[in-house]
């Protein structure tokens, strides 16, 4: 995977949110030198849609707009690299809030930027893969809970053993060509419907 990260660095869409001063220009130029597709932005925009990586100047004055930008990251947030001039706790809090994967300190210089970009991208990929893995496990766990509930319903309604209930659900699922978790959910829903009190009109 590591070599793939390096191959993919070129062509990344990088949004550089930084005042267009000498340091901002240096940042943009060096990212272009590395081979990224760079778009400068200033003042801090409300959203960073379409960017793979956001390089963001983090300072006290922009606290409000930085937090607004953070709230706009729904779904998968971009890779975030913070540019800082101070390391007092309130700046550190902002760096954590924005979900930075790496930090560049001022004065900005070319050496080190490629390393930060690589490490940040690698962490971002790991986090994304971990999040996807967790989501998969959570879905699996919810499915298992549903199977358990469906079995209890069948055991109570038909007076059968747990093993027989399991076989029943499995056979049904196979005959309807649906996953066993889906069959279990259908049983639960049907049971809820049958047992729900009639609505008063």
């Amino acid at each position: 995977m590591s070599i793939q990260i390096l191959r993919d660095l070129r062509g990344l869409r990088v949004l550089v949110i930084h005042a267009p001063d000498a340091e901002g220009v240096d940042l943009v130029e060096h990212l272009r030198r590395i081979g990224c597709q760079v778009e400068p932005a200033w003042p801090i925009p409300d959203a960073a849609d379409s960017a793979d990586v956001v390089v963001l100047a983090v300072d006290h004055e922009s606290r409000g707009t930085i937090q607004r930008l953070r709230r706009s990251f729904d779904g998968i947030p971009p890779t975030v690299i913070a540019v800082v001039g101070y390391e007092d706790p309130s700046i550190l809090q902002l760096v954590l809030d924005i979900g930075a994967h790496a930090v560049i300190e001022r004065p900005v210089r070319p050496f080190g930027l490629l390393t930060q970009l690589t490490v940040a991208r690698s962490l971002w990929l790991e986090r994304r893969e971990a999040a996807q893995h967790i989501q998969k496990i959570e879905r699996k766990l919810a499915g298992l809970q549903n199977i358990q509930r469906a079995k209890s319903i069948l055991m109570a309604a038909q007076g059968i053993s747990e093993d027989e209930a399991h076989q029943t659900i499995r056979r049904k699922a196979m005959s309807k060509r649906v996953p066993i978790e889906e069959m279990a959910l259908a049983i639960i829903n049907a049971n809820d419907l049958l047992n729900s009190p009639p609505k008063l009109t």
Binding site: L6, H30, R32, R33, P110
Partner: protein, 393 residues
């Protein structure tokens, strides 16, 4: 022109090439070429009527010495422009000093890329200006099973990474990757020789540098291998390293570089004969010396236009400036401070001289941050058909 400069009555520049130590054979050629260019400029009246005055130290192929002497050049001798460095370790030692004094380093050596400093101009080849061309030539003429042998430091690792990538693109194979100490003795190559016997590769790609190079080629010859069928190919084996070998040891091996001393163009012949007139007919003139030579001329022209040797004023004049170098017209790239160069591949003949066997005739834009070199794309900078220098003049 600034007052201080008028008072000094000269343009003082620093010159840092090793006259002793492991890479001194090639660094001495860079020193000679730098001084040749300075003498030419001074003989023609200097820059804005003032001569260039070199302040020369010997850093002994030792990065710590490089750092100390850079500090002295900028802090005590008050120079602002420094010509020097061969190994990356010496450049890395010198650059922080140059940056802190807001000076400018002119670095005339091929290296592994992945660097940019506003305070450095790189006039040697980046990997996209020699590795790709060498690989293509080798695949077409010898095959794609490679054994890699290198000195143990950053340039060989990175060169080998690039070469491995190219070999894989060509569906070839790296049979092994062997590193020897920087100043390897003949016996340090025993393992490499055994591996060649065992694995029978099509090509040996050598990133051995300095005085160890001749020992490797000698060991190769002594083991009875035939360079016409299975050559050692290199980016670092230049005229300077070949000077330590007999013609019999050298014959048949391959090197890629933007310049060889046998180039037949008028500018190349003028440069080589001026160099040999000073240092003897046998004195080697490698690509590293050619870069050291043309970068002085580029800088002198930039000082003349800027009216100052203040790096902040010289740099904008250097960016995109062109010069008719011995290898062909070269140009500094504004975006990355590296140089547009003319790759060539040469084979050593029976007299131990490089003869160009492939001249693509394309000037190639430097791409120091290229992660993946491509056999098909070399970013020619668009003047290919226009000014391709003929090697047989």
């Amino acid at each position: 022109m600034d007052e201080a400069r008028l008072a000094a009555r000269s343009w003082r520049v620093g010159v840092l090439f090793s006259q002793t130590g492991v890479t001194s054979p090639v660094e001495r050629t860079q020193l000679h070429a730098t001084l040749l260019a300075i003498d030419e400029i001074n003989a023609a009246g200097g820059v804005l009527d003032l001569p260039i005055e070199p302040v020369i130290y010997d850093p002994e192929s030792n990065p710590k010495q490089f750092r100390t002497l850079a500090e002295r050049l900028l802090g005590v001798d008050r120079v602002r422009l420094v010509f020097g460095c061969y190994m990356s370790s010496s450049r890395k030692a010198v650059l922080p000093i140059i940056e802190s004094y807001r000076g400018l380093l002119l670095y005339p050596t091929l290296y592994e890329g992945f660097e940019y400093s506003r305070h450095c101009i790189y006039t040697g080849a980046a990997p996209n200006q020699n590795s790709v061309q060498l690989a293509r030539f080798l695949f077409e003429n010898y095959g794609s099973r490679f054994l890699l042998v290198g000195s143990n430091y950053v340039y060989p690792y990175e060169s080998n990474r690039v070469m491995t990538d190219l070999v894989r693109q060509n569906r070839g194979k790296i049979v092994n990757e062997i590193y020897v100490p920087l100043n390897a003795r003949a016996s340090d190559f025993d393992r490499a020789i055994q591996e060649i016997k065992k694995t029978s590769p099509d090509v040996i790609f050598s990133t051995v540098v300095g005085q160890a190079t001749a020992r490797f080629y000698q060991a190769y010859r002594a083991a009875g291998f035939d360079p016409t069928r299975r050559p050692i190919a290199s980016l670092t084996t230049s005229e300077a390293e070949v000077a330590d070998m007999s013609a019999e040891v050298a014959e048949g091996h391959i090197t890629a570089a933007p310049f060889f001393e046998t180039l037949g163009t008028a500018t190349a012949r003028r440069f080589v004969s001026a160099y040999k007139a000073r240092h003897g007919a046998e004195a080697p003139v490698p690509a590293a010396a050619e870069a050291a030579y043309f970068q002085v001329h580029l800088v002198a022209a930039a000082i003349a236009r800027a009216g100052s040797d203040d790096p902040d004023r010289v740099l904008p004049e250097l960016a995109e400036s062109e010069y008719a170098a011995p290898q062909g017209r070269v140009r500094i790239d504004r975006e990355n401070n590296h140089t547009h160069l003319w790759p060539r591949v040469a084979r050593l003949d029976a007299r131990g001289q490089f003869q160009v066997v492939w001249n693509p005739g394309v000037r190639v834009r430097p791409d120091p941050y290229s992660m993946v070199q491509s056999l098909e794309e070399w970013s020619p900078d668009g003047i290919a058909g226009l000014a391709a220098p003929s090697d047989v003049g």
